[in-house]
């Protein structure tokens, strides 16, 4: 099981942003995506996750194994931590493992309403969802925002010891060092040329 | 719009220039004002849509040449 991306081009709002992007991520490996703000990290991850169509190139990995996590954690404030995770477990037809609460330090928050959590705790709950749904290919958009140093280390450990060890794949767009010995991909060279073809505006230029 | 307003309106425009209206009523019968107002309203609407379309077309064309000029310069 590998993630193969060949000659990928993505667009944002009708204008091409990245082009000629090719990389492979083998099972059990992660890939850290770097680049200045606005280069198209989020657009790339949304295209990989299938939320928006690519304008060129191919993305292939086993069907129905992708999961996407962005700045917004998709947490319902009126549900408790357990109910939030139980919902995502039901949606993905998986069981709610207790280990995930230790892995994300949510044990003592089990029955708290998500609305009463701090930003960091909400973030951990959002990431805990990844542990619950059991998806192999993860596309994470700055997962460690609003997390303190200890939580970042905890998340990195979970990623390395649980997810990658199980043969999972992760593509992470982040600015900080996760301490994973994962290859890094800088998107700057793949910035689309101003007159790149393929964007929906192209017919009008 | 109840009917008596309409009949008072008809009397009002009748006083504007009676001989003209006598000829019109002679030609169109008692529904002269209705027919004329229908034609008047429709033609006004047609003229509005045509004029608006033409004006917008001209305005956008001018903007486009301006933008293209700016593009060629830069």
């Amino acid at each position: 099981m590998t993630l193969k991306v060949s000659d990928l081009a993505v667009a944002r709002g009708g204008a091409p942003v990245l082009e000629g992007l090719s990389f492979d991520v083998a099972a059990g490996c992660a890939l850290v995506v770097r680049g200045p703000n606005g280069i198209g990290k989020t657009t790339l991850l949304r295209t990989l996750a299938g939320l928006q169509p690519a304008i060129a190139g191919t993305i292939d990995f086993p069907e129905d194994t992708a999961a996407y996590a962005s700045h917004a954690d998709g947490i319902k404030a009126q549900l408790t931590v357990v109910e939030n995770l139980a919902f995502w477990a039901d949606v993905h037809g998986a069981e709610l493992p207790d280990a995930v609460f230790e892995a994300f330090d949510l044990v003592d928050l089990r029955d708290r309403f998500a609305g009463t959590l701090s930003a960091g705790q909400k973030r951990r709950l959002g990431l805990a969802r990844l542990g619950v749904i059991g998806r192999d290919v993860l596309f994470l958009d700055e997962p460690t925002v609003s997390l303190d140093g200890f939580s970042v280390k905890m998340f990195a450990n979970w990623l390395r010891d649980v997810h990658l060890a199980r043969g999972g794949i992760a593509v992470i767009a982040t600015h900080i060092d996760l301490g994973l010995d994962a290859p890094e991909l800088d998107l700057t060279p793949f910035k689309a040329a101003p007159d790149a073809a393929g964007g929906s505006d192209e017919a009008f230029l | 719009m109840n009917l008596d307003f309409w009949s008072s309106f008809k009397d009002f425009i009748y006083e504007i220039y009676p001989p003209f209206w006598d000829a019109v009523v002679a030609f169109l019968g008692k529904y002269a004002v209705e027919v004329l107002s229908a034609y008047f309203a429709s033609i006004i609407l047609l003229v509005v849509i045509v004029v608006m379309s033409i004006r917008r077309s001209r305005r956008v064309r001018a903007q486009l040449t301006a933008v293209e000029a700016r593009k060629d310069k830069s």
Partner: protein, 242 residues
């Protein structure tokens, strides 16, 4: 040279720009001749008196109001299937023309019916379905204005047009079911071809219909070209900013 050739915006503009003035001129000429002929040289109806002359505006406008929505439906389908920007922009261009045609049909219908029905608005089923069509047009145009990104707008309005068409036809029959009907029979039933009006009325009527049709065509071509140019301005500005 398949007709998809015209899907290219630049080619569309180069081909249509010269012919629009001609089509517009021809349609205005046809309308002037048709309307004056119908207005001055046709006798009054023994029952309705001179109000029958409103037929030359009401029937063609009503016909074009429905055809305009149909054109928008076809253009939306073409956009969803083949992703040609010209058809999406043509759908957007046709809506204002369609709404004006609907308005004309409503006003002339109300004025025409007023002497017989005794009130300005007698909720006659056919006129009511035009009122509902007017609301559909309003919603369609509002959705176009509400969205910045042109492609998203084109997709959403196409879906709305398709669903709206189904419900417009449903409303058409629901309204018939709801109120027996004061409207006179169809003057020119396209399906059966026989017509309930004598020849002297018929020729100017057809002329007015063709006139309205050409006017619609000219306006849609002109407005589509304008939409293409507006889209080009946005694209160029985005490029220069980018």
């Amino acid at each position: 040279m398949s007709i998809w050739e015209y899907a290219n915006p630049k080619k569309f503009i180069t081909t249509t720009t010269p012919i629009v003035p001609w089509v517009l001129g021809l349609s205005i000429a046809l309308l002037v001749v048709g309307l004056t002929w119908g207005f001055f040289f046709t006798p009054d109806d023994f029952r309705q008196g001179s109000t029958v002359k409103i037929i030359y505006l009401h029937v063609p406008a009503a016909l074009m109001a429905i055809n305009a929505w149909f054109v928008m439906l076809i253009a939306s389908l073409i956009w969803l299937v083949r992703r040609h920007h010209v058809s999406a922009l043509a759908a957007r261009a046709a809506a204002p023309v369609g709404i004006v045609m609907t308005l004309i049909a409503l006003i002339t219908g109300a004025i025409w019916g007023q002497p017989m029905w005794g009130t300005w608005w007698a909720w006659d089923p056919r006129l009511t379905s035009f009122l509902i069509l007017f609301l559909f047009y309003l919603g369609y145009m509002a959705l176009w204005e509400a969205i910045e990104d042109s492609d998203t707008a084109a997709d959403l309005t196409s879906v709305l047009c398709i669903v709206g068409s189904v419900f417009a036809v449903l409303s058409r029959y629901a309204v018939n079911f709801w109120n027996q009907g004061l409207h006179q029979g169809t003057t020119v039933p396209v399906a059966t071809g026989e017509r309930s009006i004598s020849d002297i009325f018929f020729v100017p009527l057809v002329m007015c219909m063709v006139g309205f049709g050409l006017l619609f065509l000219a306006l849609v071509l002109m407005r589509t070209a304008t939409e293409i140019r507006a889209r080009r301005i946005k694209a160029l500005e985005a490029r220069m900013r980018g």
